[in-house]
């Protein structure tokens, strides 16, 4: 059957075209990008190892299939050198994984996208890095990858702020900022409890500061105290006035003991001088700073004279907890003279700007009720209650919750009128925490205040927030802090909360005002430590140390955590000391007493029940306070325990040593039981 020439020619043209197209399709199938990388990798491997066998290894798709995580990762198809140390100098995609992350997180168990995001199953550069339209989670580049640490490592377990996740400095820093700046005061984040008010209560602020100072403060807190955590709310003059009016209504006049108020007190140079001395020797600088010296833990006092009313200060020093029941300022048990001296000194502290201290008596007529109401509304809308106790407006989260903030897509974010920036989540988060006002438009004002974060802080916070994602990991991947770690973490948290390091030294860090605590638990019984922390008293009657342990009014669990912590770092058993029961003979004790009182004349330096010397520590409750092994060690050679101590080294004979120890260990057995919550 003869074909027409036209048909024949068409067949002869179309069929070869079909063949060409088909071969094109074949070629497209067998020319995938990952094959190029595979071949290149083999060349590099050959160069590095000199083993010709590696060149003939098949180029294949390598896949990690992690059923539990629901992850299919093919990243290692191109990133073949990720877990092989000799590729450290190669360019990507062949370079060895940085750091030692893979040691603790083997690739076979964790895959890649768990931390880095991106599209695991994809095999082209763009798609695999998640920069393709249909993948919502692009590769986390650079240190933003640390945000994923939070998926398994839960930071919010009452950890101390100094807790650090090794290898995730950025993430830890972000978490620290998040906690420190009390973001949960406005934002809800599940798993994070709203912390206690980090700002002072405003219920009686009118009795503490003047209206002018308040307005200045509200307008720009960092201009008043550069290091403050109080953010700037971008208030107009009127708004700040309204808020001040509102706050000044909660006045609650401070009532200092009348005996404290003395005429001419604040101008007496001798008293001021004494106060300055006390301020340092009592250890106030352990927490407060004055003109750049001291710690930033508690408010800077450089401008006290320009800020607070004198009678408030007197009352405050007399009993801080009477003014603010939740304050962390301890009761230093100051005498009236000390209070007066310190107050007088502090009231002299003024910034160079030279504004006058608020008048002792209040301004005249009250502001119009309308203004007060307006101020109240602003206070409510701005979420001041997140950090301050105000009284009337109860607490509520005023800002959007942060759960799943890391899952937000660019089209769900409000960029305002901003142009010329990359419209992605990380950029948005950075701008939002650094300068939220930039998203404001005529129609929609950004409520979030300015915290004055710098670029590095903003990046850290953004890293932390990026990790707040919905997708959770199965339980085996979750990292709970282990038990010994938990003791340490809890103890450290309490230690930090009360700024113990302001006076005590621990682990090579901290102030030198009070004894170092590294080996404290070796010396003291835990029961006694607990009681002492709950209600400190003076162990040394003498005037050697001016500083004294203040009463922090610790709750039981904090005191227990600290005690446990100190035992833990000293390697001592907790909660009780299983000291072997010893047979103590009455004659030994009698001999010991003789030695104590007469032969070695310990009583000359130490006191017992109110009698004796005032140089060494009191011995009235020694047995309930100290552990026997430590006492023995101390008696043998005090200098080996604490170099430079004034206690002399006695050369005891063996029986003397035994008898003396036996005697000492009968002194005031278990007095701590009575001490506990005595008044």
């Amino acid at each position: 059957m003869k074909l027409r020439p036209a048909h024949l020619v068409s067949i002869a043209v179309l069929c070869p075209v079909l063949l060409v197209v088909t071969i094109w399709a074949m070629y497209a199938e067998h020319d995938r990008p990952w094959m190029h990388y595979g071949r290149e990798f083999r060349e590099i491997e050959y160069r590095l190892t000199g083993n010709p066998g590696v060149r003939s290894r098949d180029v294949n798709i390598r896949q990690l299939w992690l059923r539990q995580l629901g992850i299919t990762d093919r990243c290692i198809t191109c990133h073949e050198g990720a877990d092989r140390p000799q590729f450290i100098r190669q360019a990507q995609p062949f370079r060895t994984h940085s750091g030692d992350y893979l040691k603790k997180h083997p690739v076979e168990k964790f895959g890649c996208v768990v931390c880095h995001e991106g599209q695991g199953p994809a095999l082209t550069v763009e798609a695999a890095h998640g920069e393709e339209g249909n993948w919502p989670r692009p590769l986390l580049r650079g240190r933003f990858a640390e945000s994923s640490c939070g998926r398994c490592h839960f930071m919010e377990q009452g950890l101390p702020l100094s807790a650090e996740l090794p290898g995730a400095a950025e993430f830890s820093y972000g978490w620290r900022l998040f906690r420190e700046y009390n973001c949960t005061g406005c934002h809800k984040l599940s798993g994070y409890r709203r912390p206690e008010h980090i700002g002072p209560p405003l219920t009686s602020i009118g009795g503490k500061v003047g209206r002018n100072w308040l307005i200045r403060w509200l307008k720009d807190p960092r201009a008043v105290f550069p290091g403050t955590r109080m953010p700037a709310f971008r208030l107009s003059d009127e708004e700040a006035g309204y808020v001040a009016d509102y706050l000044m209504t909660g006045r609650g006049r401070p009532r200092a003991a009348p005996a404290l108020i003395k005429k001419g007190l604040f101008s007496d140079r001798a008293v001021i001088k004494e106060g300055e001395g006390l301020f340092v020797s009592l250890g106030c600088t352990g927490c407060h700073a004055v003109n750049g010296r001291g710690s930033a833990f508690a408010p800077d006092l450089s401008d006290t004279g320009g800020k607070v009313r004198p009678e408030w200060l007197l009352r405050w020093l007399e009993n801080p907890r009477a003014v603010d029941p939740n304050t962390r300022m301890p009761d230093l048990k100051l005498t009236s003279g000390e209070i007066q001296a310190i107050s007088a000194y502090l009231m002299t502290l003024k910034r160079a700007s030279g504004h006058v201290s608020p008048p002792a008596v209040e301004e005249k007529e009250p502001p119009p009720a309308k203004n007060i109401e307006r101020g109240g509304r602003i206070v409510r809308d701005l979420g001041c209650t997140g950090c301050h106790e105000i009284g009337k407006p109860g607490f509520q989260h005023i800002a959007p919750p942060l759960d799943n903030i890391g899952d937000k897509r660019p089209d769900e974010l409000f960029f305002g009128d901003m142009t010329g920036i990359e419209k992605d989540l990380t950029t948005w988060l950075k701008i939002k925490v650094m300068a939220p006002g930039r998203f404001s438009t005529d129609k929609a004002a950004a409520v979030m205040p300015d915290y004055g974060f710098n670029d590095r802080q903003a990046r850290a916070l953004a890293t932390f927030l990026l990790g707040m994602k919905e997708r959770s990991v199965p339980p085996p991947y979750r990292k709970a802090l282990l038990d010994p770690e938990r003791i340490e973490m809890r103890g450290r948290a309490v230690f930090e909360k009360y700024n113990c390091a302001g006076c005590h030294r621990l682990g090579g860090e901290g102030g030198g005002i009070a004894p170092a605590l590294d080996r404290e638990a070796e010396k003291s019984r835990p029961e006694w430590l607990f009681a002492f922390l709950k209600r400190p008293y003076k162990i040394r009657p003498g005037p050697i140390l001016r500083a004294r342990m203040p009463d922090f009014n610790l709750p039981d669990e904090d005191a227990a955590a600290l005690t446990e912590y100190l035992s833990y770092i000293a390697g001592e058993p907790f909660p009780f000391d299983p000291e072997p029961k010893r047979q103590v003979y009455a004659e030994d004790v009698r001999d010991g007493e003789k030695l104590y009182r007469a032969v070695f004349a310990c009583i000359a330096c130490h006191s017992l029940n109110g009698t004796g010397g005032r140089i060494g520590p009191d011995h009235t409750d020694l047995a309930s306070r100290l552990k026997r092994p430590w006492v023995e060690k101390w008696l043998k050679n005090p200098l080996s325990v604490r170099p430079g101590v004034r206690m002399p080294v006695f050369k005891f004979r063996d029986w003397e040593f035994e008898a003396l120890t036996d005697y000492l260990m009968t002194l005031g057995q278990y007095r701590f039981v009575e001490i506990k919550r005595a008044d």
């Binding site: 074909l3 896949q63 092989r84």
Partner: protein, 199 residues
């Protein structure tokens, strides 16, 4: 009657010879040229068509062989040599230790015999049941037909025809010991390179 021109019509094969031997020999050169041209077109057209069909078929077959599988990979890592060889007296010959933790997931016992480490397949060589390890007696027992193996996998009782098979084991580039289940060594290959790891 077919004309000479029609000799090559039809199926597109070059040798279509419907007219049998009866056709008159070609003697006109113009005709010959036309025939050759038709021949050429036909070969190009049908040739490329059938090649294409072949390629389609090959492609379809290739389609049925995916490049990656959702299965346990044949290789898995069991740790660094230090996990198994801690040094000391038990490295001498004849001291055998059986590690059971990979049996459940991978059906493998890791056995250390002196300085050698090998991966034993937890499958009876008789009929494929999974034997159990009894550390007190230091033998493997197969529950199906009662085969018994010493701790090094050598059979000594029951119907099992040969010692337990072993998998390939080697030190990977990252310094960790890797078991390769795609390579199986039988008794006579136990001393071959790759069936054991020696330190």
């Amino acid at each position: 009657m077919p004309t000479p021109r029609s000799r090559f019509l039809g199926r597109g094969e070059s040798g279509d010879d419907a007219a049998g031997g009866t056709a008159a020999p070609m003697d006109v050169s113009a005709d010959k040229q036309r025939i050759n041209r038709r021949m050429f077109l036909k070969i190009t057209g049908w040739g490329s068509f059938f090649i294409t069909m072949g390629v389609f078929l090959a492609g379809t077959l290739r389609f049925l062989f995916p490049r990656v599988l959702f299965e346990q990979p044949p290789t898995f890592k069991i740790g660094v040599p230090g996990d198994f060889f801690s040094g000391g007296p038990d490295l001498q010959d004849g001291h055998i230790r059986v590690y059971e933790q990979w049996k459940k997931e991978h059906a493998v016992w890791i056995v250390r015999e002196g300085r050698r480490l090998y991966a034993m397949y937890a499958k009876c060589t008789h009929l494929g049941c999974t034997p159990n390890w009894f550390p007190e007696e230091r033998i493997f027992k197969c529950p199906c037909h009662g085969s018994r193996f010493y701790s090094n996998g050598v059979n000594f009782a029951g119907p099992a025809p040969r010692p337990l098979d072993r998998f390939g084991i080697f030190l990977a580039g990252d310094g960790r010991i890797t078991v390769d289940k795609s390579r199986i060594y039988r008794f006579r290959d136990f001393d071959k390179q790759g069936a054991y790891l020696e330190v």
